[in-house]
Amino acid sequence: MTISAERPTDVVATPPSTSGAVRRGGWFSQHLGTALIAAILGYLFGHWLGNHIAGNYTPVVNSGVNDLANFFGLLFGVVGWLLGIGALNYPLAKIAGRSGTEKTPDVEGFSKYFRYSTDHKTVGLQYVIGVCLFLFTGGLLAMAIRTELLNPTTHIFAPSTYIEIVSEHGTIMMMMATSIVVGPLGNYLIPLMIGSRRMAFPRIEAFSFWIFTAGYMVIFSALPYGGFPTGWTGYAPLQNQAGPGMISYLFGFAVIGLGMMAAGFNIAVTIINYRAPGMTWGRVPIFVWSILATAALLTLATPVLFSAGLFGILDRVDQTAFYVAEHGGSSYLWENLFWFFGHPEVYIMALPAFGIVAEILPVFCRKPLFAQKVGAAGMIGVALLSFFVWQHHIFQSGINPDMRPLFMLTTELISIPTGFIFLVGMGTLYKAKIRYELPMLFSLALFFNFLIGGLTGVFLSDVPVNVTVHGGFFVLSHFHYTIMGGLLFAFMAGLYYWLPKMTGLMLNKKIGLWQFWLMFVFFNLTFFPMFIIGLLGQPRRVYTYAKNLQGLNDFSSISAFILGISFLIFAWNLAYSWFIKPEKAPANPWDSLGLEWQTATPVPVHNFDRIPVIMTDPYHYGEPGATALADLSGVSSSTGNPA
């Protein structure tokens, strides 16, 4: 047999455990509880230290607020969290000159989900719960926003509280959305889809999850500090003026950024180096392509945000003036740095969604994926172009006016590779035999929603039209259509599709259908009126609006509440299908040809007993005599030689 790909050199993993003895951690070993205690101790220490250092500093004495104490509190809190969960055990041991701890086996049994696990499958499931918690918090705040907007003049919340809610909602959702697919599905599925036994850097992978949870707590800490008034964009110099909650935002993004960089780097290295023999680039599944493009963006764009956030912290705690104009800084600096990260981030959210639906469509169409290479090229093209469009967020800010046609052009160019995903989707549907299972329904909804989101993006990129639609509800609706209508629907498709593999239990279809139809209909009824509200002149992030817009706003709010209920139905489905009436999933419930479905369920500790040899791409549907995807008895892991 000839194998067209170079064999990865590091496929030799520890052979599957044969002893049968399950290692369990005790109550006094490191777990979530010790992490919490260490985080609290760290916070208290940092707060004391900050007060000790800066407590007598003039601006601090006058203000009754010590930003340095808050910052150190959060910083040492995060360090304590990492120490408590055990993330630093290995690096510290290395520094101390002891390297024998590397092969410490993971704790097995249920408590592994509350520990620092280096098994990508455990991390994937940890991420599922993590992002759901994020999503729930952000969604709750969205409900509060829509409640306030029920009436233009009578206010449920004070204006400062309202801005706090809006800012916290935006930031939590954006942080969550960066990891919503890469975290749970990326970590769980990538090794299974490329035929690897592990991720390239299992400790970095575990680190990315636990720093992500630390980020959640840091951004949540803004609420007890009184929130921050800047929205998720955090524009300076308002961020310099804001109260102590701003530190939580700046440091929170830095912490989340660390997790994004770690996850992106790990995943990119894994995809490039850990493909099974025969997994040539032409045979790599489209979902893996999308995650690779996303990982590149995570690795390259996030450092900019990380640094920008640190500048902001320095401005606040040390009175440097990166962002304060009359002291030598610039308010444009933050805008540019933020969007230089922020626009690639938009595609960090869009690309995995494309990957999921492109992966799912052929399975339910029983046809090969149409134009796979164009689709993969489109993803890479989007990733590259996304670094050249950031100034379209600040068209009206007074940047060099002659640069605007250029950014208008690059922005509109990006719709060419984005359009490839529609080519892929529509081509795959052509003369198919479509099965309307839940993953398929959610995938089809993406095409409906993202089309509206994408087309309105063209209006936004047109500078003359941008004058009216920038900074209003039109753009708000546009990005909810792409992120929520795209990413969140794709995430749901992915969960309904892959959770049976990950948990071994099917999700209930009837409850799922209720969720789908409520979510799809009321998502559109919530956000479509917002295009009109925006065109009629309602700016974003306002607690009061023109009286004639109350009808549309109320319609949108009531739809939003029902949209919220659809997510409760999802939570109910998880409870019902996992606990009340568990139904064991068949080995391959959707008759997929994907490699991830060829291993046993539940997935063995080392994924594949033998490293598979890949023979072709996984989309040979409708081809009775097609070559099998992989030879699962392929490479003997003990000899390391091709069969």
């Binding site: 204006p159 801005i163 800010s397 060419i416 089309l451 002149g537 700016p539």
Partner: protein, 324 residues
């Protein structure tokens, strides 16, 4: 190509053609003329036109995908039986379709970019903030802007002169200065009809955005920056100004109403206000395009130095000046 395929595409195509033409016609005649921001200024009129033209292109694209989805989801549903799909290389890619798709989207996208660029340049920045050194100015604007700084700008009904107006954003209100009328400052924004106006937008503190909705003007207000936006007013009318960049607690309340009135009425209002405000105008700093605010607030502040030395030579709004 087999007969069946031709049939499907032709059916979809003809359904789409009919629906798209009807949708475009309905949009153009029934909806288009009412699309915001209306026709109160030249910029508003042009931007409404741009919006409508983009919509004429976007609607058929939207409907094309919808028709395709509706058709395929119905006709090729597994519930209806039908033949097993045929896999293989022919189903996995089709060179002609791919090339066609890429060509059509590329042409559409490049055309949109070219169209937007032309509209932007021809309409002097389309009412968007062009920064301190605008490149696409209406005739006479540069002269008026320079004269305003020297306190020599004039405007009178029927002269076709450009009217410079300064927009000063502060937390949480816009105020307006009229350099052609002695530099008086007012919380009201009144404009003459059929006149080219140059809005000079600046901020005394954080970033705001001056959005005169019906005028189709949007320009961010940055401290220390003069962000200029142009338009030409049409007939009389009312408009609303809102802040469209989050600027803190009262961002939602940062709005006011403005009026476009006849040139004569404007002249009368301006001269009256100039006289009424004369005592206060004397206390204001001379007209300038940016002002360095006192970063220290009422007394003492974030930055330890009590007296700010501005980096730029622009005038200081509210710095510690000697008591007279």
């Amino acid at each position: 190509m087999k007969n069946g395929e031709v049939n499907h595409l032709r059916r979809m195509g003809s359904a789409w053609a009919v629906i798209a033409v009807v949708a475009d016609l309905v949009y153009w005649f029934a909806v288009g003329p009412h699309v915001p921001p209306g026709r109160l200024t030249e910029a508003a009129k042009n931007n409404q036109m741009d919006f409508n033209i983009l919509m004429l292109v976007a609607l058929p694209v939207l409907l094309g995908v919808w028709v395709y989805l509706a058709y395929s989801l119905r006709v090729w549903s597994a519930k209806r039986g039908g033949p097993e799909p045929v896999g293989g290389p022919a189903a996995a890619s089709n060179r002609r379709t791919q090339v066609l798709w890429i060509s059509i989207t590329s042409v559409a996208v490049l055309a949109a970019a070219a169209f937007g660029t032309v509209a932007l340049i021809v309409d002097h920045g389309s009412g968007g903030g062009e920064g301190p050194n605008p490149v696409w100015m209406p005739t006479g604007a540069a002269k008026a802007e320079t004269a305003a700084l020297a306190g020599k700008a004039t405007w009178a009904p029927g002269t076709n002169a450009v009217l410079p107006v300064q927009v000063i954003a502060q937390q949480w209100k816009f105020t307006y200065r009229y350099p052609t009328f002695g530099g008086f400052e007012s919380p009201d924004l009144i404009l003459p009809a059929n006149t080219s106006v140059a809005f000079n937008v600046t901020s005394l503190d954080v970033i705001h955005s001056f959005w005169a909705y019906q005028l189709s003007i949007k320009a961010d207000a940055n401290q220390g920056v003069n962000n200029v936006a142009f338009t030409e007013t049409k007939g009389p009318g009312q408009f609303v100004v809102r802040c469209s960049e989050l600027c803190g607690i009262w961002h939602g309340s940062m709005y006011n109403y403005g009026k476009v009135v006849s040139q004569g009425a404007f002249m009368q209002w301006a001269q009256q206000t100039e006289m009424a405000n004369a005592a206060n105008t004397k206390l204001l700093p001379p007209f300038a395009y940016t002002y360095a605010p006192d970063a220290n607030g009422a007394a003492g502040g974030l930055y330890p130095d009590g007296t700010v030395t501005p980096y730029n030579s622009s005038l200081t709004y509210g710095a510690k000046q000697p008591a007279s």
